[in-house]
């Protein structure tokens, strides 16, 4: 078990800044995808919020350490991992719900399209045979 002094010292390393840098890079990649319209801003909001929270945890290690300590985590790294895993699980679950809705909608649209097409085919007069040259 670490002493309180050792515990707080863990939050002073360069690792925090590396972690913050990684969050920033991911956020930039996400922004680029949004600008190029590969992903929607609306769909990315929760992901961006997650990156802001993790980035803030890295930039303000003292506050993070205080919270982690208050929650009973023995090391700051554990707190980071737990927060990241929990947030990623929530994001994944949210994506799963969205994907499932899209899948159902896509099936319904495909069926609707087929039924409409069949209706149109039956309404249209028989096509004349192609002229022979």
């Amino acid at each position: 078990m670490q002493s309180d002094e050792e515990y707080w010292r863990l939050s002073d390393g360069v690792g925090n800044w590396v972690f913050a840098g990684v969050c920033l890079i991911i956020a930039l990649v996400l922004f680029r995808l949004i600008v190029r319209e590969r992903v929607t801003l609306q769909g990315s909001m929760s992901y961006l919020a997650f990156l802001v929270v993790l980035g803030s945890m890295a930039v303000f290690p003292d506050v993070t350490g205080y919270v982690a300590h208050a929650l009973g985590f023995s090391t700051l790294a554990n707190f980071f991992f737990c927060t990241a895993i929990a947030a990623l699980s929530i994001l994944h679950l949210r994506s799963l719900v969205t994907l499932s809705k899209l899948q159902l909608r896509s099936v319904a649209l495909t069926q609707e399209l087929a039924i409409m097409q069949e209706k149109l085919d039956r309404m249209a007069p028989a096509r004349p045979p192609p002229e022979k040259s």
Partner: protein, 243 residues
Amino acid sequence: MRLLLVIPAFNEQASLGGLLTEIKALPPIAGVTIDAVVVDDGSSDRTQEVARANGARVLRLCRNLGIGGAVQAGIQLAHREGFDAAVQMDGDGQHPPSELHRLLEVKGQDLVVGTRYRDGAGFQSTVLRRLGSAWLRGILRIVGVKVSDPTSGFRLYGPRALRLFADSYPYDFPEPESLAMTRAAGLTVSEVSVAMRERQGGRSSISGYTSMYYMFKVTLAVVLAYLRTNRRARDVEVPDAIG
């Protein structure tokens, strides 16, 4: 009675022509007008052309939805156009049109399943598949459905079943799950002996490792379908059954 034959087909050009010819050659059944629709589930072969050439209506799905999505498209068509009933038949020729009258003889049921196991007539499937069927029979019995051939795709849907399944139908490996849904919605299920044949062409979608996934997924799906539909059915108002 207006009856729609729903024939889901995925790359079935080899067997579809023969099946549609047999349907056209069926002797007239008193009081029954038969229409056939082939649901082309995004085939890459000439399934669509073969169906049209044989005078069937064709629903062309622009992408492969799987058997459940294809059957549901046919059921939606039947429901919207006010058909009194629909009969699902496989496009691979396993279900002889000459056995159709057996399904029609059963009156007053919402779903009639053609079973190959009760009388043991015709093609009986492999030992492995029969074991799988026995397992599903047991699972379905728990939710209150007693049928001897839960995977049979030769079945008749009455108006109440058409309404239920036009709204919601399982997408992959749908037969056992749809039985649980039917029961949970308070509809009636019955079965009748029919003779089936070996598939006349094409390939089965269930083989090797897929069968393991099939058993696991279907078992889970049957329980979920029962719970889900049971809850939804309380709000559904349904017309009378056929017959």
